[in-house]
Symmetry: C2
Subunit: 224 residues, 2 copies
């Protein structure tokens, strides 16, 4: 029997690649997507489809009420998503403690499944400068997780696997293509429209488009 | 201006005492209760009332979908709440990663408020043996939190305050009574009925009742 893994799947390019990598490594994958009031809610439809196509055992969409977390352009429609971001600063699309909340939920789910591995597509190279994408954060989360649960008390530790952490966007894309990921079925845009079309102008669209260009792969994204 | 604090408030004896302690320490308190499908949902009504009476600035109830977390007697009605618990084991009322999820959410809320303090009523003495009530878990959470957020990157650290951690139940009760907490307005039972009456038989009821007896204080709990 294969080992089980929890895979955080947003419907984006990175997490789709992570799911393909976890499958290739032989894991039975249990995927979670979060509906946290993000603008780009239609990404969840992409996640559901990706989970099936990439051979996950199950996909759950979890409602998390982050309406108290005003102040992020990803959840507050009154804040404009910026088209250009200063690489030195943390952008307004940052959602406070988002990866901490997502990983905490994944930890509970891992314990229920008796899974030892949690996969998350964080990346410290071509990313938006979020503090909760850094390797030191992931390591600290893992240390905490290994004190938090019944399985930890019983000596079963959890690993937070971040196979993309040191890859550039073009390397991620090349890896995914080797594994057969159809990136036309993924979305990255922060302000995706209801038909799943990308704006082509936000920070996330820009990083994605540059990635395809640098990988020498045709960009399959549907833009508005 | 007072400093702001996020206070996790369940409606129970412990968290009510914590709120009173945070108020006495001069904090402006922003309380959160979680509706996570627990049996004892009526505790949230107690929490709302306590927040007002104990002078919190705000109280939010947050919906968190833990329906995937089968296997706990607190969320799964098909599992019986045990009446007696072996002190050496982790009981079936344990909810996987519950305090991790709650604290993660509190961390995001703290960042939005620019609050540096999060109060939680965990206790490592008269408790039910949950791994996420131990001091080493709290310390690890705090270390992780101080890498997770924008405020951490900007040098503002967060403290997870656990003023009850080393107190026995009777000490908690004595302290709360000094601070004017009306424990008739708190609930501890794992299987509270719709009128807010306690079963008087579960582990949590037993610890609470013994606490009042040992503190030499009349037990104001309404039992079925």
């Amino acid at each position: 029997m294969s080992d089980k893994a929890v895979v955080l799947l947003s419907g984006g390019l990175d997490s789709a690649t992570v799911l393909a990598m976890a499958r290739q490594a032989g894991f039975e994958c249990y995927c979670i997507s979060f509906d946290y009031g993000q603008r780009h809610l239609s990404e969840i439809r992409f996640a559901e489809q990706l989970a099936v196509i990439l051979g996950a055992v199950r996909h759950n969409t979890v409602q998390i009420d982050m309406s108290g977390f005003v102040g992020s352009a990803l959840t507050d429609p009154s804040i404009e998503v910026p088209l250009d971001v200063d690489a030195e600063d943390i952008p307004v699309t940052y959602v406070p403690a988002r990866n901490t909340v997502f990983l905490s939920y994944a930890l509970g789910y891992a314990e229920v499944l008796d899974a030892r591995d949690i996969f998350i597509g964080v990346n410290a190279v071509d990313y938006s400068g979020y503090p909760d994408c850094r390797p030191e954060f992931i390591q600290a989360f893992e240390s905490m997780a290994n004190l938090a649960t019944r399985m930890a008390v019983h000596g079963r530790s959890v690993r937070v696997q971040t196979p993309l952490i040191d890859l550039s966007k073009q390397e991620i894309i090349r890896r995914g293509i080797q594994l057969g990921v159809d990136y036309a079925l993924t979305v990255s845009c922060y302000q995706l429209d209801d038909d799943g079309k990308a704006c082509g102008r936000c920070d996330s669209c820009r990083i994605r488009r540059d990635g395809f260009a640098e990988a020498g792969v045709a960009d399959p994204t549907r833009y508005v």
